[in-house]
Symmetry: C2
Subunit: 358 residues, 2 copies
């Protein structure tokens, strides 16, 4: 816990460690994202990791970034094809490794990367290590919903492929902390994902997790709404959806695919005739409003929870808008002292737990 507190005090200036490489759109999009964030938020500054000459040239184009970006030279790049185990063994020279290193040493308390998710998770686990009391870290995302805040938190969406009842309880606690500090929901409603809402339904570990989470409800300060179903991920019954990483990963990809199919069909429908093309011109601003509400670029960033430090995973395809959304989220979490609060929450709710020796 001491190291954790040091992190925060060292970063009152909101210093964010950014991996410039590994995204589909290259370092120019990442620097452009930093620029958008720097314009919007004068408190943010950056440590940018990647090939020094290339980054220096990109940063020099934007006078506003002068004095707000330190460049940390790293010549290696983790590609989307690299196997996580390979990166962990041989990736010391990569920008991803370097970006996480800034969090490990306490220079920054959060890192942002558009790179290979598996490699980023593996490196984060090995270099940052798990918080005491956390067996499985989790990836949390914001999913568009009909809630007041417009989004639900869902976790785990793929850090691991399974979770037992104890893990699911920790996901609930970490998700609560994230909803408070990332979405400003003071008393989050937590739902446990299942195939039905009746208490007798579903797998054994889910029934066990149901009772465990219920038992921590009052002390931890969330509201447990019990089992929820797939339709509630985008609904308004809960603010945090707790599930294992296999189910969560399938669910978000199913949702993304379905949204993308509807978008495709909508464009086809508007291209059908001259009248429908005219209609689409008139409808343009309505459709843009729709896009703003459900545009994944505006809530870009899965967050790795349960480690000594926070890592924000931006979409691999993120453009400048996407990168700046991930940076905005990272900055908000730093400014709220999120990782310390999360660590304290997990520790406090599990008083009988022996601290992990790691």
């Amino acid at each position: 816990m001491t190291a954790q507190t040091d992190h925060t005090s060292a970063n009152a200036r909101t210093l964010i460690s950014v991996d410039a490489m590994g995204g589909d759109q290259g370092p120019a999009a990442v620097v452009a994202g930093c620029l958008i964030s720097a314009e919007a938020n004068p408190d943010i500054s950056f440590i940018l990791h990647g090939p020094e000459a290339e980054l220096t040239a990109l940063v020099a184009k934007h006078p506003l970034l002068a004095g707000r970006i330190q460049i940390r030279d790293a010549v290696g790049v983790v590609t989307m094809e690299d196997k996580p185990s390979h990166v962990v063994r041989t990736g010391k020279d990569t920008s991803m490794w370097s970006a996480i290193e800034s969090v490990r040493t306490g220079e920054a308390s959060v890192a942002v990367s558009c790179g290979n998710t598996g490699a980023l998770m593996a490196l984060s686990m090995i270099r940052l290590r798990k918080l005491p009391g956390v067996n499985r870290p989790a990836i949390a995302v914001l999913y568009p919903s009909s809630n007041a805040q417009g989004f639900n938190v869902m976790l785990d969406v793929g850090a691991d492929i399974k979770a037992d009842a104890d893990d699911l309880l920790r996901f609930a606690l970490m998700g609560m902390s994230y909803a408070r500090n990332g979405l400003n929901v003071n008393k989050p409603r937590i739902g446990l994902l299942n195939v039905g809402t009746e208490e007798h339904k579903g797998r054994v570990e889910l029934k066990e997790a149901h009772d465990l989470i219920r038992a921590h409800e009052a002390e931890a300060g969330f509201e447990f709404v019990g089992f929820v179903e797939g339709g509630d991920i985008s609904g308004d019954k809960a603010d945090v959806i707790v599930t294992d990483g296999f189910t969560g990963n399938i669910a978000i990809k199913t949702g993304e695919g379905t949204a993308s199919l509807i978008g495709k069909r909508l464009r086809e429908a508007f291209k059908y005739s001259i009248i429908s093309r005219l209609a689409s011109l008139l409808a343009y601003s309505s459709l843009m409003r729709l896009r703003e509400k459900i545009d994944p670029r505006r809530v870009n960033g899965g967050v790795f929870l349960g480690l000594n430090g926070t890592v924000v995973k931006s979409h691999g395809s993120a453009d400048a808008t996407g990168v700046s959304a991930a940076i905005k989220l990272a900055a908000q979490l730093v400014q709220n002292g999120f990782n310390d609060k999360l660590a304290a929450r997990v520790a406090a709710a599990l008083p009988k737990e022996e601290p992990s020796p790691e």
Copy 2:
């Protein structure tokens, strides 16, 4: 197998057993659905199950139905709240039980119901029994996709909450048969749902199922595309998505919820201003075309596979259009001799399997 063949010959006239009760919109919507189907398809006739006096009055309003509906009196109704185990023990007088009984005795080879899914599955299992070689029956649905045929088959979406590698192989075989006979896809491409497409990813039973399905590919006449991800459920990489009932159930409900949120946001966007309201009038026919493509009422019906007889589960909220879509699907399956083909497929692909004693 003998009983199965008898079913088919007895039903060359495409006699469909229809549960008139248990849907949210009552028996009038079911009779109206029968009417639409009877108008569209002169070969179909019905056995309608429910309270005789009520049904007689409803049917009498439509001269076209004269001589094409037999009414089977059943006074009990299975509600959405009834527990499956309770219905199995005490539901002999219900319209649902009676509708399945017509399939069990061979009068009809397919039943359609809008009622309680759990109760319908439980009754179907107990009364129709599993096909030889099938350990877990499955519920298959048609999911809107960017495929040529506009839909993928996905199974299991909730008959059970788990599936081992052998079950997943049978789901692949049953899904292939359903894609051929329900969607007219001659050589279906089968994908196994996982959190990544690399062969080393995912749970142990999935790796095992991967090899088992691969081994049956040539003999059974499908193309195995390997692991697919959540986004492929609505994509064009596979025609049949194989998964366990827990994951499948979460996935379809996530997809439905996401589609419904987008629809809600789209309506809000068009209500925003006078111009956007005007645009929505002009866009009306485009939006209707979109709706037609993705309207769940037009592909209404989960199908229970792996039993001695086919049961089509229509949405509980189905209106006349929804009911007639479920009847159309049921009729097509009967006319293609679907259940015999599926039984033969499962039996042929598993030659070393001892027939189940049930």
